[in-house]
Symmetry: D2
Subunit: 262 residues, 4 copies
């Protein structure tokens, strides 16, 4: 059957004489609703492939077709299949997929047990190069940090604040996003909750004061745990404390990822 586009010139497919390969080309910031591990969310999609040195352009609409031909169902385990689909449809050697979206965990408050949704920013990336697919995931886990110096030098009180722990890992089979988030939350001064009744507020206030950590302490404690996790290969942890006594952040990072991840 003749497609309607077959009657129209295909400028993209022409020969390109500059002899320069393009590492990645495609679409960015396409917002799309999808299901991620049984949660209905909305995310921004980047879908890219390489372009050989002798071809003028890629076919952008095909990326969007891949997303729209049926309801989009994503999971960490399915990233290699998505990369395969992209590479095959675009007739490319390398493929790249990046999806940024919020992820939710139902969490119960520590004393009252009242439960609510906590939200986490996710950046899920797949890279297909030299016949091999790798999956990276970045999660931002918001936590409480309480300053050990402030606690020790003050006669009472201690400054504390919300902090963002950003962890990037290269995932291996068996990886659990929920486990990674819980690992981070367990090493923080205190974790966050969407609902806290008064009994809970008393508990988290005391827990935080009992558990002071510098940004350096938290990054080391998380790295210590990640080193033992069998379902990841390499990690980068960075922490940003939105200081309650300054208008800038305290920051620390430990990076043992060998590759560029973005």
């Amino acid at each position: 059957m003749i497609q309607i586009d077959d009657l129209i010139k295909d400028v993209q497919s022409r020969f390109d004489a500059r002899n320069i390969a393009v590492n990645r080309v495609g679409i960015r910031r396409l917002r799309h609703p999808f299901s991620f591990e049984n949660q209905n969310v909305v995310g921004y999609f980047d879908m890219l492939v390489n372009l050989p040195e002798n071809i003028k352009g890629t076919h952008m609409s095909r990326f969007v077709e891949i997303l729209n031909e049926q309801p989009t169902v994503l999971s960490i385990a399915a990233i290699p299949l998505w990369l395969e689909k992209i590479v095959s449809r675009l007739q490319a050697d390398n493929g790249f997929l990046q999806v940024q979206f919020p992820y939710f965990l139902k969490k119960a408050a520590p004393i009252s047990n009242t439960s609510g949704w906590m939200d986490y920013d996710i950046n899920l990336r797949g890279i297909f190069e030299k016949g091999c697919a790798k999956t990276y995931i970045t999660v931002v886990v918001p936590v409480t940090s309480l300053c050990p110096c402030s606690k020790e030098i003050a006669d009472y009180g201690a400054h504390n604040q919300r902090s963002h722990v950003t962890v990037t890992v290269c995932v291996l089979p068996g990886f659990s996003l929920e486990d990674l988030i819980k690992c981070v939350e367990s090493t923080a001064t205190c974790e966050l909750y969407s609902i806290l009744k008064r009994a809970d507020e008393k508990a988290v206030t005391e827990r935080a004061y009992d558990n002071p950590k510098f940004v350096e302490d938290m990054v080391r404690d998380i790295a210590t745990l990640l080193k033992t996790l069998p379902t990841i290969k390499g990690y980068k942890v960075s922490i940003e404390n939105f200081e309650s006594i300054h208008n800038h952040s305290a920051y620390a990072e430990i990076d043992n990822l060998s590759a560029k991840t973005i």
Copy 2:
């Protein structure tokens, strides 16, 4: 039954001697998954009430409880019920609800008929004051604009660009968000699509060139249509062209909303 919190001091409920009422108090930027008119989306919730001059504070956790006691189902028509629930649970006179989220419409390309999801930013607000609930909705509709001056003075070509049309209306019974979006898209130089095959690209290119509009033209044409819409009471339209020849925007607005809406 005695609740766990009954054993703990309730600082918020105390008498406040400053004698100053607070217009709005509550929670902001709570990210939460929900269903909006049968679409599964994620949004940011602001939930506020007034606080009388003689009470020290409001009970913040109750707002979050309202959202978490069952799966959140929102619709434009249900906003008054949500306001009622907020005001009643917080024992307040006035209530305010604001939800910011993306909304999607399935759109078919003009020639090939290939279809994909187009996304629109929504800000849905309900205000309950003096016993009366009002519902406002703001939608950002991205469109194409093509400059009439550029077309007329140049021997060929015409600069064009993506533009954001932002419409705020006070809704009456029978209001349809989809109709409002289509009304805006029909008055633009051209509408946007998530998928365009080559035959479609030819069509939208020619349609845009045939239909040049200044930012002033578009704002007037949309206002003309909105004036005749029986399901709204008042409107504000603003348009921002992300000029392809400048690093700043061209902007125009027509505002006949009598009230502060935020």
Copy 3:
């Protein structure tokens, strides 16, 4: 002398038959370096005028010319002159100017006296309507808040966090931005500093614990002070606490501005 543009059609100046006046039209988000009360800063400019019902379009390049014909020198007191210049150059009845930029105050730490620059976000707006110019200024003052409930119910410690106090006022002659900022900082649980040595950190930690305030307390205390300020006419105060125990904000506002300010 004949200008080069006189030889080219002026599409904008044509008659418009739709008979709809445009409230505001012009340029937005133009980034420009300037001097504000002797500080060298960079800001985003919006410059708008009304457009009568019988004219097709405004002349956008004139706004940019106003900014570029000599080094831009701004002050709060000079806003009416700027509005006059805009209205006169664009041959309009009404004019609007909005400039968003950071403002800095040199602040000494409370004990060590070490000094550094604190930054504040400013939104300076002028509105010229019906022959009358009004100047509004919005400043975001970052401060510390410490929760009175957390302090009272916990055996030790208290959650605290960075907060943003956003104040909008209509300025009268004699208004001082620095005084407004200091007024806000003095009513907060504690103020922020860019540099704190250990002796300072001890002082602010104890000061914060001695001075717990709900978001409701801070908004009332600031409103109380603003009511007595002779150099402003009307104010809106809103406060957002970036809660260290939640991933959302606590928020309160008191609004006695009679007009839409944006």
Copy 4:
């Protein structure tokens, strides 16, 4: 002389038994006014050092002191001196400095010669590791792109839009930021201006139509030029077209930087 802090415990300097080095620790997002190559601008500073495995924490206030002890004067050539100052003051082996700020060039319109400031986002980074300082700079150059396919298949017109060209280079002696920006602008479909009179608008409209380029064309043409630039060592170019016919971007990148740059 005894400093006031000598009387207070120094928690940060204590021994740390976890035996984990921290790659980078310090301050982030500190907004500060400064002079960059004789322009007065405002930027966000990140200042980081490594932390050996046996020390508990770094001394955050020293970074802020470095910025505040005298008016901050930055240049690309001075980055190694800044790194030296940071490393020496913090007694560290490695140092990292990142400054994000807007940069301005005075540009004359092509026909009328009217001139105005064009703005460019800059990210200037210095890395001191193993005794060696490297300086990277990223600049975002906004340009016009016009689609060759749209032009060729349509009977008239062609969709065009604003695009961001983001170039990161490792700089060698003699590097000129202005030359890099002009190199990028010269390879685009057309460059942007802050002021265009009608004669200029005619010229840029026709120039754009005469010079259609895919995102793939622009990334290749810029890479071709960068290859020949003797004052850089390695480059990454990425281009994002904010498509005027879609609500997502077209994107391409060519990356020959051997190192992680962030």
